[in-house]
């Protein structure tokens, strides 16, 4: 580690770092704009200027850019050059400048010693020439990197009296608001959007003083990661549009550490709340998982939490089939009565439970204990259950590593089997985009370039990338960086995978593509295989495991670590083979580990006549089982108790509905696809009579006389019991400190010390200061009192540090730039690679024979649209658009249809599939496997379509093209008409009763 001197201070710094990184890692405040920890340096903003000295005798020094200057042994720098006496002179001059006129201050003889600071002041001053004075109406105000830096360099007085440049802003869709006048041309937006995230529809335009960042013309930003512009932009050019509609300042937001429930990746998030509404979601740094970035589903897909369709009170159905709201206690009594009657009876198979892959591990565990293991179904669909349990079984036995995203980014060859990762695990796809850059880093190393020299490294590599082979049924969003794409039907994807495994093991295939893929993986140091459940095809995940296993078998065990590989090293893959699976929901893996494969919903329904009470935990069964099965269930006379957060079709058939709290109002543990158990905390107290599912179930257990569960009082105890129930869950206790944890003797505040209006916030209801809500279950408090400092990283409720109001304050919480957080790891990995893994079977015979004239249906997932909950957010629903059928251009020509026309789909009856007909809008794909057509999966109108089903297609002559809809952003201003008139169990009683008690029933 080289030693450098900064203002006389001796620093041990990381080899190969630049001066800016070194300073920030050492806690020295050096202003910057264009540099970003994950995007490296381009040296364009000139803000991180420091003075570098030749040697100890050199007193003059020269100005260099911190971000572009590598550290070297004994190098001398100064931020505020001169020390001691010089500093006094500076202060004296500054004070003099304060009292003299603006004119005069320019003429104050500039003192030689403080070149660096003067330079930085001049840079800010020039950046501010065109920056408007609109901080009070700017969404970035109070968390603005530009504000922070302006204060940091001490630029205070504006001398420029001329006109400012103005720009026309663009409509960029429902998520991002554009205000170009605020731009300081740091280029971070374009570098993130284009270089880092692979977007093509945002660019830097024009030159000198009229540079413009935007699209070619108004339109929705296409990237799935556009929301990161909000955090990447150092000022208010790109801001969070949904937040603008219900704006609160950062310092007024109450927030808590949370985990995204949008998919199984488990990104760490910081949701912010005020007035009982979830306002926005910001990234929570986790160096292993999401780093600095989120996908748009994660950032914008939680609007459903504020939805009018949320269930606020428990509801019971009376004899007329109408729902009436009831008090929570009453609901528990009713449920207990139903459940108790059964307990005394002779048949013990009376109460069954269906869990949920989108509910916490604790809630699922409680339900399983409440009804008994043998009466608990995980709540996956039948085929989903098969694939997900298969994945869980592979992960438990394989010797390959299930990598974090950070580890995936080190992969130097990637094979993707059957996934459009950008839509099924978006944040992973962003990581894979970085993985293919390892080739560029290798070239840079050979050329002696530091990897943070971003522009130079990109110029050097051009489009040379590490190999990425994508084998999928349809085009994917990573095709643009793939070295090879292969379009195959699902069963053939599995065959391809197995063939690659065999080729790696030394049996070349007849298929050149297979051999090419095998060679690429075999030559890699850290090969990665990505697959997943999206095709609902176990053979595909098996084949992925076979490839990962073959890579391990191929390697001779070496002690080499991933970092010490020299560029010329051509040894085959060592034990660094990585295997990652994309899973559908936030707790899919956790639930798979908790449940038995054979207990599926169908099996449960098969013995419907023996069931008296069914408890459904946060699971909309109409998305998992067929309509016939639902009908069978609802007509069977079983009493159905459902815990749910949003109204849905299924609830109308339930007898008792318990209003569950969302992830933002409750605590729980989720197991990500990496096998990482992570805790989320309530961001704000539950309103109305919403309660966390675990709370409902605990009450239910107590009321129904369950002796063991009745002993549990606290959430922590459930976690503990859950951890003790299974060896794999043993690390659960260490995921986060328990509720007794105190930081500096106090609970950790969810509100900033600047939170305003504590006494006035409810003044429209009562002028008395409201009693602070207590939080007995977590070490966090709903308060501004306490310290947000030095706590475990898993408990950091927001990022703020003196002088750093923006999200860049994060660096004060990191151990070093890009390093792990100071307060220890976030989350615990439950599954590590096994030393004696069972080898996967490498054989598989496809069963499906496609009949002439029929097409095999394959699913296409959409980041906006395929997820059940996020699509209940207005902005996401707008982006999701209508369901579609995606076909090749050849088929489109044959059917005589173009984009937007209608195609009639006739499902061919088969085992478990009834013949069925529906019409969908057409999308034309550039790449699709032979004999396959794709449908938008997860959309409510395509729930009846199953992957692998055969269908006949014909043009729908009666199809009405969709007319342009009123965009969601306009809809809210036309809010006079209710958005949804669907009756819900409680809407009637809720009208005009935002804060009141539930009516007496």
């Amino acid at each position: 580690m080289p030693t450098i001197f900064v203002d006389g201070q001796e620093l041990q710094v990381k080899e190969g770092a630049n001066v800016l990184e070194a300073c920030l890692s050492a806690g020295i405040d050096l202003p910057y704009f264009c540099w970003h920890p994950s995007m490296g340096s381009i040296g364009s903003c000139r803000q991180c200027a420091v003075v570098q000295y030749q040697n100890a005798e050199d007193t003059n020094g020269r100005i260099v850019m911190g971000c572009m200057t590598p550290v070297s042994e004994g190098a001398r720098f100064s931020l505020n050059s001169g020390s001691g006496a010089d500093q006094d002179i500076d202060n004296a001059v500054d004070e003099a400048a304060d009292v003299t006129t603006v004119e005069a201050s320019i003429d104050v003889p500039t003192k030689v010693p403080d070149k660096g600071r003067e330079f930085r002041q001049a840079v800010i001053e020039s950046l501010m020439l065109n920056h408007p004075h609109d901080c009070p109406v700017c969404a970035e105000g109070g968390e603005c990197h530009l504000q922070d830096m302006t204060v940091m360099v001490g630029h205070r007085d504006r001398r420029y009296r001329g006109l400012k440049n103005t720009h026309r802003n663009q409509y960029l869709g429902p998520l991002i608001s554009h205000e170009m006048n605020r731009c300081i041309t740091c280029y971070r937006c374009e570098r993130f959007y284009t270089d880092y995230a692979g977007g093509t529809d945002l660019s830097a335009q024009a030159s000198h003083d009229h540079v413009y960042f935007g699209r070619h013309q108004d339109g929705v930003l296409e990237s799935e990661f556009s929301g990161n512009l909000v955090e990447v932009c150092p000022t208010g050019v790109f801001t969070d549009k949904p937040l603008l509609k219900q704006y609160s300042r950062k310092w007024d937001l109450q927030s808590a550490p949370s985990i995204c429930t949008g998919c199984a990746v488990g990104c760490n998030i910081l949701p912010g709340e005020r007035y009982g509404k979830l306002k926005r979601i910001h990234n929570r740094y986790n160096d292993e998982v999401n780093g600095y970035f989120l996908c748009d589903r994660g950032r914008f897909g939680s609007g459903y939490i504020n939805s009018d369709e949320r269930l606020n009170y428990a509801g019971v159905r009376d004899f007329n089939g109408e729902f009436s709201a009831i008090k929570g206690g009453e609901a528990i009594e009713i449920a207990a009565r139903w459940m108790k009657t059964q307990e005394g009876a002779k048949n013990t198979q009376k109460i069954v439970g269906i869990g949920s892959p989108r509910a916490s591990l604790e809630a699922n565990y409680l339900l399983r204990e409440l009804v008994g293991k043998e009466h608990f179904a995980a709540g996956f669909g039948d085929r989903e259950s098969q694939v997900i349990h298969r994945i869980a079984a592979i992960l438990k036995t394989t010797r390959a590593k299930n990598p974090s995203i950070k580890q995936m980014e080190t992969a130097d060859a990637v094979l993707i089997l059957g996934e459009d990762v950008t839509h099924t695990a978006p944040r992973v796809a962003l990581g894979l985009r970085q993985a293919v850059r390892n080739k560029a880093y290798e070239l840079a190393k050979q050329a002696g370039l530091a990897v943070w020299q971003d522009a130079a490294v990109r110029n050097l590599a051009q489009d040379q990338r590490s190999p990425m082979i994508i084998v999928s049924a349809t085009e994917t969003r990573l095709d643009d960086i793939a070295s090879q794409t292969v379009s195959l039907a699902p069963q053939e994807i599995a065959l391809f995978g197995h063939a690659v495994a065999r080729a790696i093991a030394g049996q070349p295939s007849d298929d050149a593509a297979v051999n090419e893929a095998a060679a690429a993986l075999k030559n890699a140091q850290r090969p990665l295989v990505v697959s997943g459940s999206s095709m609902l095809h176990s053979a595909i995940v098996d084949s992925a495991a076979a490839v990962a296993d073959a890579l391990l078998a191929d390697s001779t065990p070496t002690d080499s670590t991933p970092t010490d590989s020299s560029p010329t090293d051509s040894t085959p893959a060592s034990c660094n083979s990585m295997l990652s699976f994309c899973l559908p929901e936030c707790n899919s893996l956790g639930l798979a580990l908790l449940s038995e494969e054979q207990e599926t919903i169908s099996r449960l329904l098969d013995r419907a006549d023996q069931i008296d009470v069914l408890v459904i935990l946060e699971n909309n069964l109409s998305r998992r089982i067929s309509e016939q099965q639902i009908n069978k269930l609802t007509s069977s006379g079983i009493r159905i108790i459902a815990l749910e957060l949003l109204d849905n079709d299924l609830l109308a058939s339930c007898d008792l509905v318990l209003s569950a709290a969302s992830y933002a109002e409750s605590e729980g543990t989720l197991v990500s696809s990496e096998g990482r158990a992570q805790r989320y905390y309530p961001v704000f107290p539950e309103a109305y009579e919403r309660r966390a599912s675990w709370q409902w179930l605990l009450d239910l257990a107590a009321a129904s006389g369950h002796s063991e569960l009745a002993e549990l009082q606290h959430f922590d105890q459930i976690t503990e019991a859950c951890g003790a129930s299974n060896d794999l869950f043993a690390p659960l206790a260490g995921v986060s400190p328990d509720h007794n944890f105190r930081s500096h003797g106090q609970k950790i505040p969810r509100q900033t010390h600047r939170a305003s209006g504590r006494t006035a916030i409810n003044a429209d209801v009562s002028v008395h200061e409201p009693l602070r809500k207590l939080d007995p279950e977590t070490p966090l408090s709903f308060s501004m009192e306490g310290l947000n400092r030095d706590q475990p990283a898993s408990l950091t409720p927001f990022y703020w540090s003196p002088g750093w109001n923006s999200n860049q304050s994060l660096q004060k919480f990191q151990s070093e730039v890009n390093g792990p957080l100071r307060g220890g790891p976030v989350g615990q990995r439950l599954i590590e690679p096994q030393t004696n893994g069972i080898s996967q079977s490498s054989d598989f015979t496809p069963l499906r024979i496609v009949q002439k004239g029929t097409w095999q249906l394959v699913p296409i997932y959409r980041v906006h649209g395929s997820d059940e909950l996020s699509v209940r957010t207005a902005e996401v629903a707008e982006l999701a658009g209508e369901a579609f059928i995606a076909i090749s251009s050849e088929l489109a020509a044959k059917l005589e249809v173009v984009d937007g026309d209608g195609v009639k789909i006739n499902l061919v009856a088969a085992a478990g599939i009834d013949s069925f007909e529906l019409s969908l809008s057409v999308k034309i794909l550039t790449r699709v496997a032979p004999n396959c057509v794709a449908y938008s999966a997860g959309y409510s109108s395509t729930l009846a379509l199953q992957p692998g089903a055969l269908a006949q297609l014909s043009k729908d002559p009666d199809w009405q093209r969709a007319t342009p809809q009123l965009i969601a952003s306009d809809r809210s201003s036309h809010a006079s008409a209710p958005q949804n008139n669907r009756p819900s169990p409680d809407t009637d009683i809720d009208k005009g009763r935002d804060r009141g008690e539930p009516p007496h029933v």
């Binding site: 093509t200 660019s203 830097a204 030159s207 413009y212 070619h216 013309q217 173009v898």
Partner: protein, 177 residues
Amino acid sequence: MNDAQMIQTDLGTVLTREEIRQIDTELAHVPYKAGAAIDALKIVQTQRGWVSDESLRAIAKHLEMSAEELDGVATFYNLIYRRPVGEKVILFCDSVSCWICGCDGIKAKISAKLGVDYGETTTDNQYTLLPVPCLGACDRAPVMMVGDDLITHLDEAKIDQLFSDVTVEDSASEGEQ
């Protein structure tokens, strides 16, 4: 409407055969299609006088770039015209040598004569006046280019002579005064 339909319905949005031929010639010299972006823009500008949004999208499609990427290139260069210009563009040097030699007066003369300021086009659509930082002919300052012709040692007489056939319509400069 998809791209194919759009092209069928509006002939202004497709490249002509001649343009495609010239662009393809350039493409033969570059390793990446995007490498011919500037040449393609120049080719289309030569043919059409300027590069409209429609033309730009057609070029982008031909070069397999996004319109945003190509627009980033097109708008970067002052001499790729993204707005319509007159038959001839006057590139008037206002750099230091010409300034010393009194280009300000010449510019005033041109503006009075043609009724246009920088960035404007005469009402008869003959001339567009643009400033340019240097034309590399400082030894013959003040200079300007009119279309493809370099005109040196400018003075008022020369301006009168050059634009003798132009008569200013009052309405042209009305809005600007």
